[in-house]
Amino acid sequence: MLLEGERDTILKTTSAVLAEHGARREKLIPLLQAVQEQLGYLPKLAMEEIAAALDIPAVEVFGPATFYNSFRLHPPGEHQFKVCMGTACYMIGGQIALDSFERRLQIKPGETTADRRFSLDQVACVGCCSLAPVVVVDNFVEGKVTPTRVDGLILSYESNGQKVEQDSQQTEATNTDEAKGEEGS
């Protein structure tokens, strides 16, 4: 489901990346990393282009793209929630935070809401175990996240984003729980 104009962007980016890094088999992972850095994810089209340029079957590109954790096959959301699943966070409520996000956004880790506003991911330890459980929102770290805070986070990003009203059929969000968002612990 590419948006308008996306096809061109993908083709242009991919050929630029190929020109810069050189179309060599050994460069496959740096190539995929460069495409993802510019587009935010690995579209199927880009992987096919790279396979053609390296003269290898597409499956040899899909393989690494799905094998390694840092590649994502879905476009990232405008705001990204990354729930830390390091040991300390998990033991103290990381799973609870992740469940709360799944429940509110109606997506699973690795996915993006249909309106591409939010995406949800799990990450391994981000190295601030003393703030556990931790959620990284875009590039900011939120410590000691409870389900109440999850509601608050989603709500605050929803009202910050200007597109709230034009998107009526978005995922089941926190509209009904607005009043609760700020209360509690």
């Binding site: 995929l32 094998f67 990450v123 601030c128 175990c129 003393s130 509601d151």
Partner: protein, 637 residues
């Protein structure tokens, strides 16, 4: 060799230049902010900006600089103020308010605000230093010594503190002598297995093939371990220098630092370090005018735990799936592109310059006979002072947890310590006197691993922690070996059933059998060690498994399917709505008589109402097994 070789002359020049550049700093007021990833997460960037703004507003002449991580995670963000006339003082948990206060009281007037100070960095008459605390007594910082005290983005800071002198010394001797020194020190690889680094290097030297590589393994994937990241972010040149010395010893011309993509700041700082080293002739065609040529580059890993395994790492560098291969051939015979390759962990390389500088005997003075040197741990979980610690090998787990980490917070009771991450094991109270070294831990059922230590207290369920680590290895299993791919999946299914109260006692026997099969049927250490968390918890915490199976009860009140939340009517205030408001799924409601109650059908066991209930009522309680609920509810209706 002349008295002053070209290398020494070159090093002297570098050193003098660095010292001349830094000398004026001693007379200036400098504010150092710890901005490693952990510091940034706690708000170090905001603190840095606040200092800059305050200094500008009040027209004070002082410099704000960034350093790496000192290892005191519990007190982040940290700021050190070095003002001429005062000892350098470190402040913990700095926020904008404290910034204003410090600028007004300390920088403008001369009151160092000791009430907010954490520690002084140099001996003085007024305020204690690190060595005055129990942690300082047990800690012995070798490779972390400069972390947090030098600017990782300025090579001159490293050079001025004797940096790269070990390289100059090495280049002035023969490669065999360097090798002899490392062998003499019995430096064992810090990636977890403890294989002697010198033996690896020697194997490469013996090869006929002259194209050789040196690779630093910084694919630190254990959840809860961040020592390598911290070293690369705080003192990258130490690792770079170690790698150059290694390359000289084994005759390698090119090297790579394989850093995982989750560590963007480490990648950036290492790249800066490599550029600066190149500018000063410490990397390149003729290092320190010695004629020895070597260069380094960063390879960004794509995120796969199994790539910490040598052969898988090499495969991923060649653009393939990161799957391990049969050994032999070892990497020392056929590594990257089929050429002889040295692959060592970040910490192993970090010890190399120190051993070259101070000698093998100095290194062997610390630690135990079989495991000389220090061990670096990321201490986390239920301890008062989590953080990055470096203690001599042979320190006991008890000292590490109670003296260095200051024990368990609250009135809680110690239950277990998980050491070595997904490949390690959980050790109980009775094992706390095991000394930390490669061999003793193995006997105890855990492994040294790369150094993550998580302390667990009475609120942590051992079945759940075993399941957590198994889920991790199951997801990260590359799928090559059947036992690892399917065995871990089966074990996970059994554990999941147990945490849901659907287990049978015979499952425990199946678990043990599967664990043994996976151990022997897997090619690499990911699979061979994956059953460790289960085997150790089964061995030491069998009763907990039994309670889950026979009584459908989670003794630590942690497994969501085996607990129920209940609001005790005799404690509920009726007038307070905290629990109702806190519930994300509207399961908590007000009964007709004003008391609060929980609709068990809707409850998602998120713990929010328990946290929200004011401490003076403490009305929300957890029950396990959930069957107790009927009894309780019966008595209130």
């Amino acid at each position: 060799m002349s008295i002053l070789s070209a290398t020494e002359t070159k090093y002297q020049a570098l050193r003098e230049k660095a010292e001349a550049k830094l000398a004026p700093l001693a007379a200036e007021t400098i504010i150092w902010i710890g901005t490693a990833t952990c510091g940034k997460a706690a708000g170090a960037v905001e603190v840095r900006e606040a200092f800059k703004a305050e200094l500008k507003n009040k027209g004070i002449d002082a410099e704000v600089r960034e350093v790496g991580c000192m290892g005191h995670c519990y007190a982040e963000p940290l700021a050190v103020i070095a003002k001429p006339g005062f000892p350098a003082i470190c402040y913990g948990k700095v926020d904008e308010g404290l910034v204003t206060r410090l600028v007004d009281d300390f920088l403008i007037n001369d009151d160092p605000c000791y009430e907010f100070a954490l520690v002084a960095l140099e001996p003085n008459d007024v305020f204690p230093t690190f060595s005055d605390f129990p942690r300082g007594v047990y800690e012995n910082k070798m490779i972390l010594e400069q972390c947090g005290f030098i600017d990782p983005e300025d090579i001159d800071h490293y050079i001025a503190k004797d940096g790269y002198s070990a390289l100059a010394k090495a280049l002035n001797t023969e490669p065999q002598q360097v090798l002899a020194e490392i062998n003499g020190a019995n430096l064992r690889g810090r990636g977890g297995a403890g294989f002697p680094a010198g033996v690896k290097w020697e194997a490469v030297v013996k090869q006929v093939e002259k194209t050789r590589y040196v690779i630093c393994n910084a694919d630190e994937g254990d959840p809860g371990a961040f020592m390598d990241r911290s070293i690369l972010e705080s003192n990258p040149h130490l690792v770079v220098e170690g790698m150059i010395i290694c390359a000289y010893a084994v005759g390698a011309g090119h090297g790579y630092l394989y850093i995982r993509s989750e560590y963007p700041q480490a990648i950036r700082r290492v790249q800066t370090a490599l550029e600066q080293a190149r500018e000063r002739g410490l990397l390149g065609k003729s290092i320190m005018d010695n004629g020895f040529a070597f260069d380094l580059e960063v390879f960004t890993g794509a995120g796969a735990f199994v790539c910490g395994e040598g052969t898988a790492l090499i495969n991923s560098m060649e653009g393939k799936l990161g799957m391990p291969e049969h050994r032999p051939p070892r990497l020392s015979t056929a590594g990257l592109r089929g050429k002889p390759t040295v692959l060592n962990n970040v910490k192993t390389f970090a010890y190399v310059p120190l051993i070259m500088k101070k000698g093998a005997d100095w290194f062997k003075n610390t630690g135990t006979a079989e495991s000389p040197g220090t061990a670096v741990f990321a201490l986390a979980g239920k301890v008062e002072n989590p953080g990055l610690v470096e203690v001599p090998m042979g320190t006991t787990l008890r000292q590490l947890i109670y003296d260095v980490g200051q024990g368990i917070p609250g009135e809680k009771e110690f239950k277990a310590v998980q050491i070595g991450g997904p490949s390690g094991g959980c050790l109980p109270e009775a094992s706390l006197d095991i000394p930390i070294d490669f061999d003793s831990l193995k006997e105890g059922g855990a492994i040294m691993g790369s150094g993550g230590i998580v302390v667990l207290d009475e609120d942590d369920c051992m079945v759940r922690i075993a399941r957590y680590f198994l889920k991790f290895t199951q997801q990260e299993s590359c799928g090559k070996c059947t036992f690892c791919r399917l065995g871990t999946k089966h074990m996970l299914d059994i554990l999941t059933a147990i945490t849901k109260g659907e287990g049978k006692l015979s499952d425990l026997e199946t678990l043990r059998e599967l664990a043994e099969d996976v151990q022997v049927g897997s090619l690499c250490n990911l699979g061979r060690t994956a059953p460790n968390p289960i085997l150790t918890t089964l061995q030491y915490f069998y009763d907990e498994y039994k309670a889950h199976i026979e009584e459908k009860r989670c003794p630590s009140l942690m497994c969501p399917d085996l607990i129920a939340y209940f609001i005790a009517p005799e404690q509920c205030s009726k007038l307070c709505n905290a629990c109702v408001g806190s519930c994300p799924v509207e399961a908590v409601y007000t009964r007709d008589d004003g008391l609060k109650a929980i609709d068990q059908e809707k409850c998602v066991k998120c713990d929010n109402c328990l946290k929200a209930c004011p401490i003076e009522y403490n009305a929300v309680i957890k029950l396990s097994p959930p069957a107790l609920l009927a009894e309780k509810e019966g008595s209130t209706k």
